[in-house]
């Protein structure tokens, strides 16, 4: 465990000690941002909209006390979405989609000697292959989380009003009630931390793949499971530290 952690730190250090030219890094980061961010918009949209909808319907189902105002449903959807569902669920979805793609891509490059080809050319392969992926994830995860927040709240609104669980006015009132802007900051901090964990762990798993196709599959699986565990631990640690 400690040996792996040490290797991970050395891996990250190697990535930033001898970086490639800024123009190369910029181009690579934009390419990766498209793969990580733009290509994930559909899945994140679907997941977040439905999570918002389900959260709203289930809260409405449980809120039977007539003394509790209907606007509480909107309030709870907003709080749950911003504080937990949008950053954490989005990051878990991205760990599955982006994490496996990063580990699989790097693992395949490793076993087909493409990483060695870069090294022989005198190119720092971690700086060229890994740093842009991590930067792209740090850039795109918060944007996807913001989008997930909006779509989740919108999903709750549609589900609440279309099923007749509450009125449009109650939901909007609940959404605007006791809003704490810091919660948004907290969610974005979580998104950045999760982005680093997913991209860093997946890159590490993929970069050090040895063997053949079977090991590339194992690296992808390992990347996803380790990223999800890391997200959950970090989620708890951040909540304990920052709230």
């Amino acid at each position: 465990m400690l040996k792996t952690l040490g290797s991970f730190v050395l891996f990250l250090r190697g990535m930033v000690t001898r970086t490639e030219r800024f123009s190369v890094l910029w181009t690579r980061t934009i390419d990766e941002a498209i793969l990580i961010g733009v290509d994930s918009v559909v899945i994140v949209s679907i997941v977040s909209a439905f999570i918002g909808a389900v959260t709203c319907v289930q809260i409405a189902y449980n809120l039977t006390n007539p003394l509790i105002p209907q606007s509480t449903i909107g309030y709870m959807v907003r709080e749950m979405t911003i504080l937990e569902l949008a950053p954490t669920i989005t990051s878990i979805v991205l760990a599955g989609k982006v994490g496996s793609s990063i580990a699989g891509g790097l693992g395949t490059m490793r076993i087909t000697e493409q990483v060695s080809a870069l090294e022989v050319m005198g190119i720092n392969s971690t700086s060229y292959l890994v740093l842009p992926r991590i930067l792209a994830a740090l850039l795109m995860f918060p944007l996807l989380v913001i989008m997930a927040m909006l779509l989740s709240i919108l999903g709750g609104y549609l589900a609440g009003t279309l099923t007749g669980a509450m009125t449009q006015q109650d939901y909007v009132e609940g959404i605007r009630e006791d809003f704490i802007p810091y919660n948004i900051v907290f969610a974005l901090i979580k998104a950045v931390v999760f982005a680093f964990l997913v991209s860093g762990i997946s890159s590490f798993k993929g970069y050090f793949t040895t063997g053949g196709a079977l090991e590339v599959g194992a690296a992808s699986t390992g990347a996803v499971t380790n990223s999800i565990i890391a997200i959950l631990i970090a989620d708890f640690a951040l909540a304990a530290l920052l709230l």
């Binding site: 190369v24 493409q114 060695s116 022989v120 050319m121």
Partner: protein, 272 residues
């Protein structure tokens, strides 16, 4: 010229290279010959810097590579071109982009037009001028090797390393790849090191051959000398080749008639 002095390398306490010293001569095809597991690829990886030897030094034209400053090592690495066993082409790039890649990375001073010209020249040199827009998945194994060679020579390398360039190729394509490497070596006066266990390559382009056995260098010489070598391990290796065994058998059965047989073949009368 590349000088390798007393290189040793072990994995988990198992010695793979046991004090190898040799010289790879400039302007020649230097062959690292030996059976599987004799340490050829490990030695090659130590020379190109993909592995660090436990002991020993490697010198490129008088500049020490091992344990030198990173800037000097980088400078040497940028003069190295390598053809990998599986070609190692970047599969997200077209053939032309693969050849252009080292130019983009290593020679930022080149204009895009100059780079395009160089790519076209290199592709033309390996006979693939019309394959620039194809993806690596769309071309054959032999073509991949050619692209690998074009990529290696694109930044005008001084040292060319080839790790089993004939693996997975049919005999006719193998010979063409060997000839291409040989021509490029002489055309540009570069130092070429080829890891192989293919006796066809030895006979075709073996200008300087180093024979490894169980992590040690047992013999070195030319292709003319190899058939008369007296080292038992080398003789065992050479005569384990079906082609050489067959040639020897025919030679014995026809009492030296193999030369006449070959001559007959060259004059159109069939043969080996």
């Amino acid at each position: 010229m590349i000088e390798v002095s007393n290189i040793e390398k072990s994995f988990n306490g198992n010695p793979v290279l046991k004090g190898i010293s040799c010289v790879f001569e400039t302007g020649k095809c230097n062959l690292l010959l030996g059976g599987s597991g004799t340490g050829k690829s490990v030695l090659l990886q130590c020379i190109v810097g993909l592995m660090k030897p436990d002991i020993g030094s490697i010198t490129f034209d008088g500049t020490v590579y091992t344990n030198n400053k990173i800037d000097i090592r980088q400078e040497i690495r940028r003069k190295i071109g390598m053809l990998f066993q599986g070609s190692a082409l970047f599969d997200s790039m077209t053939v032309a982009q693969n050849v252009e890649f080292p130019l983009q990375m290593l020679t930022p001073e080149m204009s895009p037009a100059e780079r395009r010209d160089r790519v076209q020249f290199c592709l033309q040199r390996v006979g693939l001028e019309n394959a620039g827009n194809k993806m690596p998945a769309e071309i054959s194994g032999g073509m991949k090797k050619r692209v690998g060679i074009a990529r290696a020579i694109a930044p005008q390398c001084t040292y060319l390393f080839c790790d089993e360039p004939n693996s997975g190729l049919d005999p006719a394509t193998s010979i063409k790849i060997d000839e291409l490497i040989h021509e490029i070596t002489h055309e540009y006066g570069i130092t070429t090191v080829i890891v192989t266990h293919d006796m066809n390559s030895v006979i075709e382009i073996g200008e300087h051959i180093i024979f490894l056995h169980q992590g040690r260098k047992l013999w070195d010489g030319t292709k003319e000398e190899i058939l008369n070598a007296t080292v038992p391990e080398l003789r065992d290796f050479i005569f384990s080749s079906s082609l050489v065994r067959a040639a020897k058998r025919i030679d014995e059965e026809t009492e030296g008639g193999i030369a006449a047989f070959a001559e007959e073949g060259e004059s159109g009368g069939g043969g080996i």
